[in-house]
Symmetry: C2
Subunit: 289 residues, 2 copies
């Protein structure tokens, strides 16, 4: 059996009781380590489980899936994923390979950033399409996520923005020379994402487009959701561009129409007296900014 | 401290290790029992935790929140919620009351139907707004969920439909006579939801509206996600109106544009050879029905 097991979002103890039991009995245990991270690393997990983990980077999962699946028809193999195995990143490919090889699989679910962001008080069913904000480079500055946010905002929906993660990236030089030397991992912060959005707002304003968001749009920055030291800040986009939420992982939400109960919850996370003052009522029961 | 603890979706062992540790140390433990259910009941949870649970129905949570929060400033109180505490139903109200009473709170997340449905292979970031499908009565047959599905479909997005739950409902007669006698709980099944949608399709066709979905639209029915006996079926809306997925809880997904990997995953859950034959390619990389 192939078990895909979600680890949740915080630390070693966010695995479910069921998940932990399976980890302990499996022949081999892989840890997917390229789409997300916990606040603790491989070593802490190994100590807690009392067993060795095999780190599975993107290369391994994509090119050596057969090795991961080896023997899983007669023994148990676990594949651990931060969050939920079918959360922000799905592992459909591995599942399909398993099924094609006649291997049974089972999913042990857990919290994912896709549902845990509800803790800021914004209702999950008021979210539209989720978007990814990627690190801009000097030559590659895509704005497509802005247009998705715009589409959600026009319908009054909130937008969850998943922020870029760069793990095991090679510099152009090392890539060209074929040297397997990797850059340190990079995780986009809320203020980096907010800065990129502000630049898009500036560009669109110059082009005299009708703006979907502005410096005053109320946003929510979230960091290390589910961990002891999680941080949530509600404020304007401009404000979030200057805030420091600490270590990774970060996520950003651009609000749409807000219900009074959502506004009350956001007040708990407003760090400045004027954080939410750009909100105005659109009708008797809804706020927007 | 007030702990809001997600129980996940399957059985007693879907609680996280962290959640279980907290349950064992709290002075009082409430079980929210009106927005969702596990495949096991209160008694199984009590046996597993080795302690008594206080059932919190809607009336109690809404009208006796002070009792739930009593003493939580000096001792620990746990409030258990099936799925995630901020999943399909949020418990913002209880959190706000706690904060206003100077009580600290902490959320222990878990899987929710909002993210666990990803196990059918449809990518969570391709979902639009989530809708609720309510039980129709002879006199109340709202169609608003259809219009939301339409809006999502027009943008190529999938729609997760949460299906109605009726717990502790009184008959009109008992309500009028003030008798606290409750009807047995009712949980909407995938085929009931599909039947209501088919009736709306019929109504709209008679009005010569342009249809957002039809009998041939590919849908996914999900039951008891996360449990040992979970069931997932992919097929046309017409097909799902006739299928029996067994006991509650059920959810229904109306697909939007499908990527090839999503189609490959759905094939795993297609029970009839022609289940997905209504899919056609919209462009080089996308399917729709």
């Amino acid at each position: 059996m192939l078990y895909l097991i979600g680890l949740g979002l915080g630390d070693v103890k966010d695995i479910t009781v069921k998940g932990l039991e399976v980890v302990k009995k499996c022949t081999r245990v892989y840890l997917e380590a390229y789409t997300s991270i916990l606040t603790v690393g491989k070593q802490a997990l190994e100590e807690y489980y009392g067993r060795e983990l095999i780190l599975a980077d993107r290369e391994m999962v994509e090119q050596e899936a057969d090795e991961i699946l080896r023997g899983a028809d007669i023994t148990d193999v676990a594949f651990l994923v931060v969050g939920d195995p079918f959360g922000a990143t799905t592992h459909s490919d591995l599942v399909l390979r398993a099924v094609n090889a006649g291997i049974q699989y089972r999913v042990i679910h857990n919290a994912s950033v896709m549902n845990a962001v509800g803790c800021c008080g914004l209702q999950l069913y008021n979210f539209g399409e989720t978007v990814s904000i990627v690190f801009w480079t000097d030559t590659w500055r895509p704005e497509s996520f802005y247009d998705k946010i715009k589409r959600n905002r026009e319908m009054g929906m909130h937008t969850l923005c998943l922020l870029d993660i760069k793990v095991k990236e090679q510099s152009m030089e090392n890539l060209m020379r074929g040297r397997k030397i990797y850059e340190p991992p990079r995780y986009m912060s809320v203020n980096q994402a907010a800065e990129q959005l502000l630049e898009i707002v500036k560009n669109r304003r110059e082009r005299e487009e009708e703006l979907a968001i502005s410096e005053d749009t109320v946003c929510v920055g979230l960091a290390r959701i589910g961990a002891e030291d999680q941080a949530i800040i509600a404020g304007t986009l401009q404000h979030l561009a200057c805030c420091d939420l600490g270590g990774p992982l970060h996520s950003l939400i651009i609000t749409g129409h807000l219900h009074p109960l959502e506004v009350d919850m956001l007040r708990l996370f407003a760090t400045q007296p004027d954080s939410l003052q750009s909100l105005t009522t659109t009708d008797s029961s809804t706020y927007t900014s």
